[in-house]
């Protein structure tokens, strides 16, 4: 494996974007940092600014007010980037389908690489989703 590819797989930096979720998925993402699941042993850090990030973790159905902000944050993440949609809301918008306030699930707005299903998914599933996304996207380049 080339040294660049190996470094990209070994050090994915995460940025967490909440586009209007109920906070169930968000607390499971933060729980992935705690000692029981410890995502830092894989090299992941939760960074504060989208310009530092590689992996964008998106939760929530995209509400109308968060739509311009979600697009803006996506554009601020430098290439090569990975988008992981976490939870049922980000995958399909349910259980809020039919609402006027939802601009559609995330893959109508930005290209999504990996979907992690669950309401909310367990921290282990989130970690697996991040690792799969990173291996698939960077391994093939």
């Amino acid at each position: 494996m080339r040294i660049t590819t190996r470094s990209r797989i070994k050090s994915p930096w995460l940025f967490h974007l909440n586009t209007g979720s109920c906070a169930g998925c968000d607390i499971e993402i933060v729980a992935a940092l705690t000692p029981r699941y410890d995502v830092e042993r894989l090299g992941c850090i939760l960074v504060g600014s989208p310009r530092h990030a590689d992996v964008l973790l998106v939760t929530g159905p995209v509400t109308r007010q968060m739509l311009p902000r979600a697009i803006r944050v996506y554009e601020q993440v430098p290439e090569p980037k990975v988008v992981v949609a976490i939870g049922a809301c980000a995958i399909s918008g349910s259980p809020f389908t039919g609402s006027q306030m939802i601009e559609g699930p995330m893959d109508k707005i930005v290209p999504v690489d990996v979907y992690v299903a669950g309401c909310p998914p367990r921290p282990e599933a989130i970690v697996r989703g991040v690792v799969t996304a990173v291996k698939r996207k960077y391994g093939e380049e």
């Binding site: 660049t4 470094s7 990209r8 050090s11 000692p35 830092e40 504060g48 600014s49 430098p78």
Partner: protein, 314 residues
């Protein structure tokens, strides 16, 4: 010829060692929190990954300053860290190179600060003002303690202070009371210079989104992080070789050269763990007013006592 070769090798060695020190710091920090933590070579992966990302310069930034700052900061830090190492291996020095080392380390902090304010982000402006306050807070006691050391050894050359310890066959911090006080002051100033909790106020992640670093990404961020790592390494190495030069306790041949360098590095690692990792784990972050008051109360008083005791000959 030999000299030039050693000088050229020093720069990659400093690069390698400073990232290694950062890796050990992160690993020990994680273990103290009951976690496993990243592997020790993690900062190398981070550096290579960041170097290969897209270069984005924000529209609101003054692009020439914004792109030049990380390079100057990294260069200043690495040169500032290589001077002590090259001095020890080559066993020479020039008069006044202690001031040069401190100037280079301060310059890398100032450069990062300027880069933050040139980005056009309001968080960068807040980071700029906070870092300036912190610089005034910790640089003054640090310079005064170095002044007291040079008053004592009657020289401003780095190698002369080291060889004074070899001549006296004891560590400088344990020779006189004034030197012990100066050592304490210098060690107290290291957390602020290294931006470690409780003094990482200018780069608080949860308050001002990394302050000066908020708009830096990709290769620029890699260089800024390298500048910080090299600066931490330089500070701990300086603290060890000026105040706690252990090879001085060994006989003749082993007190200078490569063997002494390795012993110094091990001691520098221990000082790093004590002054950067442990406060990072057990304290909360202070506010800017509280940190400023702390630094102008205790370390400043200690450093002035040290100068007074030095002039009195104690």
């Amino acid at each position: 010829m030999n000299t030039i070769l050693i000088l050229l090798i020093t720069f990659p060695v400093v690069f390698f060692l400073s990232l290694l020190f950062e890796g050990v710091d992160r690993k020990v920090h994680a273990r103290m929190q009951k976690r496993i933590g990243p592997p020790i070579i993690q900062p190398f992966y981070d550096f290579i990954k960041l170097f290969n990302k897209e270069r984005i310069v924000p529209v609101t930034a003054s692009s020439r300053i914004f792109t030049a700052v990380p390079m100057i900061a990294a260069a200043a830090s690495i040169v500032g860290a290589s001077i002590p190492i090259a001095s020890l291996v080559l066993e020479t020095g020039i008069g006044g190179d202690l001031i040069l080392i401190l100037y280079l380390l301060a310059m890398s902090s100032v450069m990062v600060m300027i880069g933050g304010s040139s980005s056009g982000n309001p968080y960068g402006a807040v980071g700029f003002s906070r870092k300036m306050t912190m610089l005034i807070a910790y640089e003054v006691p640090m310079f005064i303690s170095i002044l007291s050391v040079s008053l004592n050894c009657v020289s401003l050359a780095y190698y002369n202070i080291v060889s004074a310890q070899i001549g006296m066959k004891s560590l400088l911090a344990f020779t006189r009371p004034s030197m012990a006080v100066a050592a304490a002051t210098f060690l107290l100033c290291i957390p602020a210079a290294a931006d470690a909790v409780p003094f990482d106020i200018s780069e608080a992640k949860t308050e001002i989104i990394h302050g000066s670093l908020v708009e830096y990404g990709g290769p620029y961020l890699a260089l800024v992080k390298l500048a910080k790592a090299a600066s931490n390494f330089a500070m701990t190495f300086l603290a060890v070789s000026l105040f706690f030069y252990f090879p001085a306790l060994l006989e003749g041949y082993a007190s200078v050269g490569l063997g002494a360098l390795c012993l110094c590095l091990v001691t520098a690692l221990i000082i790093l763990l004590l002054t950067i990792t442990v406060p990072r784990t057990v304290f909360a972050r202070l506010k800017i007013g509280q940190a400023f008051k702390f630094y102008w109360l205790i370390p400043l008083a200690l450093s002035i006592i040290s100068v007074v005791l030095s002039t009195l000959g104690l």
